[in-house]
């Protein structure tokens, strides 16, 4: 029995989910919903309809899971509770500070409808959350640090693009090696945002734009840049297309902790990712999560869940027997 999936929103992430579904024999793409003109959208999977978002409710009994591929700022806070009232849903909501409120909204909708909603499952939040929770459970006397990059931050790139005179921009988040190494050595340093990451910006300016002003506006932008050391490089549109077309990302979660009656033994747990394509990898996480959501629904569960609530085996296409024989 395959897990029948529909994708809601066909941007970078939606395309990543589509590619991931094609890699998994037990997952099946049934429909793609878009708020754009469906006739204008070309998808890759043969024979799968592209439909207007309004038609999603028609698929209530035709799919097992709806994967929501919108953004965390404005799309998901509305869409996740709305569609959790009709479907089992999966999202990658990643505004960490607003997760409890998002959870509460999705939980209320899912409990009323008897569906499962799984929120915030990409790689951070998602796989990195798992790394933090496992390591904290095992080494309670310890400290963790998360480093991101080197990789493209879509949010920071978008923030630069909103500055007057900017035609295009790409922002790389870069972990500072000295900080990573100090954490890896178990020194448990106290690190400010500036100590942990650099922000590297590549900007295409409009002809005649005041580059000094653009650079100043980037570097002083509250929250996004003002707490970091930031470099700004102006390049041509051709250089941008040639050198910055990809969306790589990655990072590490490190936890150092001590055990023993005199805290005499030190341990280091490190989980790291190096990704050529952030949206395709995130889409792959969402696809595995859709499999688990289908399983949770079959087990009679309902309400909002996170990846912390999922037995790891349920994310896998392999049976318990196969996992015990070959993976354990």
């Amino acid at each position: 029995m395959k897990t029948r999936i529909a994708i809601f929103g066909y941007g970078n992430l939606g395309r990543g989910v589509e590619a991931a579904i094609a890699q998994n024999a037990d997952l099946e793409l049934v429909a793609v919903f878009t708020r754009r003109d469906p006739a204008a959208l070309r998808i890759r999977t043969p024979g799968v309809p592209v439909l207007s978002a309004e038609r999603a409710p028609e698929y209530r009994n035709k799919i097992d899971v709806l994967i929501l591929c919108g953004g965390s700022a404005t799309d998901l806070p509305v869409q996740t509770p709305k569609y959790a009232a009709m479907f089992n849903v999966v999202d990658s909501f990643d505004t960490h500070a607003k997760i409890p409120a998002h959870f509460a909204a999705a939980d209320a909708a899912s409990r009323a409808a008897g569906t499962v909603s799984l929120i915030s499952c990409g790689w951070d939040p998602g796989l990195f959350s798992l790394a933090r929770v496992y390591a904290d459970a095992i080494l309670p006397d310890g400290k963790d640090e998360t480093f991101w990059g080197r990789g493209v931050s879509q949010g920071h790139s978008d923030a630069i693009r909103r500055i007057e005179g900017v035609l295009d921009a790409r922002q790389y988040t870069v972990p500072i090696s000295a900080a990573v190494e100090a954490v890896r050595r178990g020194e448990q340093p106290t690190l400010s945002p500036r100590d942990k990451h650099l922000r590297e910006c590549w900007v295409v300016a409009a002809e005649g734009a005041d580059k000094a002003r653009i650079e100043r506006e980037i570097k002083t932008m509250p929250y996004y840049f003002d707490e970091y050391n930031t470099t700004v490089h102006f390049i041509s549109a051709e250089e941008m297309a040639r050198d910055h077309a990809g969306l790589p990302h990655g990072g590490s979660v490190l936890r150092s902790g001590v055990t023993g009656w005199n805290k005499e033994h030190r341990h280091m747990v490190e989980y790291s990712l190096k990704l050529d394509s952030n949206p395709e990898f995130t889409g792959s996480v969402l696809a595995a999560c859709a499999r688990a959501v289908h399983r949770m629904a079959r087990e009679g569960m309902c309400g909002c869940k996170t990846i912390l609530d999922i037995p790891p085996a349920w994310l896998s296409a392999h049976s318990g027997e196969e996992l015990r024989a070959h993976f354990l």
Copy 2:
């Protein structure tokens, strides 16, 4: 409500579990059972009785979980099913090839008794199994490799000690950097046991023993050493005590995989451990697992489980709300 735990077997691992319980406010050590003379055993936790193994059944209603700290070769295959008939149990059974049979025996005992038995939960099998299963679920088109060390292998050290003329021995498993780096670069090389690990042996020989024969017997020992490049160093008992008293270990699970319609994007997932004390870290995993077993039993589950069946949040002392707010 605390999780009341008893430890069965007070060797290195049992002592590691005891130290871990002391680090967790929600876990409580209630008793230690030993097959040695209880009067001869000094434990660290004040006020906790040390009792003969035969008295374990008296604690049926006094503990929530029994942690079995015996060895995988002869102890656990007998003890886990035996005590699963009386208690919720946790073990760190680590003979990978025999896990399915051990699972079946524990499952039958637990189902008949309505208990939960959690097997094979240390770091490999255990945390490394989790790393393999998560990475495989997300990157099905990929390949993983597990490297162990640099660290002391108790099994290999014991095997050397059984050779005539050997008074003491310590065997370090050493991952070969060139192999690790090739895997890390995503090259997916085909690696033999010899390509992946060196075996480094430190041996105290009896006076007058034939060192050349000992070295030859080590290097040609089937399964343990014959498939590896092995170095043998003879040292004094004083040097052994001074330089090789610790039980460090560690290792890495790496998975490289591809995504995209033309497999054009490469991803690397790496999970690694660097441990000063293998038994204390393994004991810390078992302690967190005891918490989860207690939770599973309260939820009405029974039968044999592995760490692949446990929702990650159940290993944690923190509530779902805390985890979502601070760890997700």
